[in-house]
Amino acid sequence: MPTHEKILLKNMDQPGYTGSLKDYEAVGGYQALRRVMKELAPADLIDIVKQSGLRGRGGAGFPTGVKWSFIPKDYTGPKYLCCNADESEPGTFKDRQLMERDPHQVLEGIAIACQAIGAETAYIYIRGEFRLGAKILEHAIDEARQARYLGENVLSSGVPIQVYVHAGAGAYICGEETALLESLEGKRGMPRVKPPFPATHGLYQKPTVVNNVETLANLPHIVTRGADWFASIGSPPKSTGTRIFCLSGHVKQPGNYEVPMGITFRELIYEHAGGMRGEKPLKAFIPGGASASFLTEAHLDVKLDFESVAQAGSMLGSGGVTVMEEGTSMVWAALRLMEFFYHESCGKCTPCREGSSWLVQVLQRIVDRRGRMEDLQVLADLCQNIVGRTVCAFGDAEIAPIVGTLQYWRNEYEDLIRESTAISTTSKELPVLALNS
């Protein structure tokens, strides 16, 4: 198996590494923050991160340095950094490992980002179920405060950086950055209309940056080893650095694998994750979390970088790679994901709220052998009337499983429908009708 140098999972790979402050300092931890506080002007720091090519690891892949530069320079009031630790995209479980195993790496990244944008307060919005992660982070914050890496006067620079852990309470949508801000303000987690963007009107209507845990964890390494070093890893110029891919489903060794962007799905699945768990060959995979459209065995040689996966008709998203073996029903798989989206739709936008419910009903009746051929058109119509018509990207995400499975496995839908016992199209049992009927 080709070995690649790990960056983010390197410390925790060492035998005996506990993630304590002592352990983190022993591997050079907080040296980058020292440099940032003593030698680097915020503008230079932003330039370094821009040059490194670092793009957000939360899903959208927005260039991190560019996002920071949208914070108004002349603004003197409070600004905020929010670390997005909601990790709610099905298939994704990397931030949990970063927080539970090497919390100071995340905290150092947070402090560096705060200094870059001039924020004195950062909130780590962690999904409510991650009780252990929250506890570990709280403890690490205490340690870092005592050592003056955080607190009133960071490393005697006169600059305060306060970091607080804020637990969510079970709502996928709070991973969306503006819903996260609403939730942090103590409200229902419903996304805001953009613009204005968080960079000018974020938390408490103040300039705010929201960055993912993994994005932030990269920062100490970029500061220490330089933008050029980072930009040389992966698939430059557009997909630099490593990504932690979360393998789940029917692979032999599910788990988190950190590899340079640009290796192929084949290498990731067959060499890193040990290949398929049994005799059955691969049938389908989701390349980047539940919001990413399904791909097939024919896409195994697609490269794991932002552009290549987009070209293949899906997205690299959150890095959650779910593998399905031959024999898995794709209609069932689409229904399972659709049930998730239906459950998690926040209800703000009608197309998403109603559409997700209709999509579940139609998929369910097809799976229950009560479908009609027209239902395929119903599904397509519904998807078309959701995409692009909602306040946030949830609407685009929720149709992905259906669009992808309809494209590649339409025959499975048709087979299930052919097995159906005839039901009149006007039956009360089938309330969702095709638009043209």
């Binding site: 035998p15 490992q97 195993r101 252990l132 303000e185 987690g189 599910p254 988190n256 399972r336 998730f340």
Partner: protein, 174 residues
């Protein structure tokens, strides 16, 4: 009453935010920890602490699935049924757990020990099937393991099988 019992903790929470309402989720969490669910009287008290109206607290609390609006059993068993867990056997496991506990989703055993919930993704997709019981995760579940976990919880209130700090795959040299 929360305000008396947790005076210092609440003061510390409020000091974290420039706007009081931000402490709403933390306080609801605290209330649930205290009583196992978010009671009406707790919501009224939280409203008072944060200068909100009770409906503002209620409308927020009901948005979030983790808040129980009714009393539940001592152990809240939440099993994930989303696709990633479904691929590796959560459906038959959920069936088995229902048989074993003798209750369906949303129900509590007659001894008030276990409440069963079937839930969407808990972010533990590489180690399914999985469940959360109160604050702890339990992963790579089998019927045998779940049986042991329930027995241990019943006997000692704790289980040795709960997950520690997450790392998968495990490093070889440890």
């Amino acid at each position: 009453m929360l305000a008396e019992k947790y005076q210092d903790h609440i003061a510390d929470l409020l000091a974290r935010y420039p706007v009081k309402r931000s402490a709403l989720l933390p306080l609801l969490n605290l209330a649930q920890k205290e009583e196992g669910y978010v009671s009406e009287s707790a919501m009224k008290e939280i409203a008072e602490i944060l200068d909100l109206t009770p409906p503002q607290v209620y409308e927020t609390a009901t948005f979030y699935t983790m808040f129980n609006m009714n009393p539940i059993g001592k152990f809240h068993v939440q099993i994930c049924k989303s696709l990633m867990c479904g691929l590796v056997g959560s459906d038959p496991l959920i069936q088995w757990v229902q048989q074993r506990l003798g209750v369906g989703p949303g129900q509590t055993t007659s001894d008030r020990l276990f409440t069963l919930s079937v839930v969407e993704c808990l972010g533990s997709c590489g180690t399914g099937p999985m469940m959360q019981v109160n604050d702890d995760y339990y992963e790579r579940l089998s019927e045998e393991r779940v049986g042991r976990i329930f027995d241990e919880l019943k006997e000692t209130g704790n289980s040795s099988l709960k997950s520690g700090p997450f790392m998968v795959p495990e490093p070889i040299s440890r």
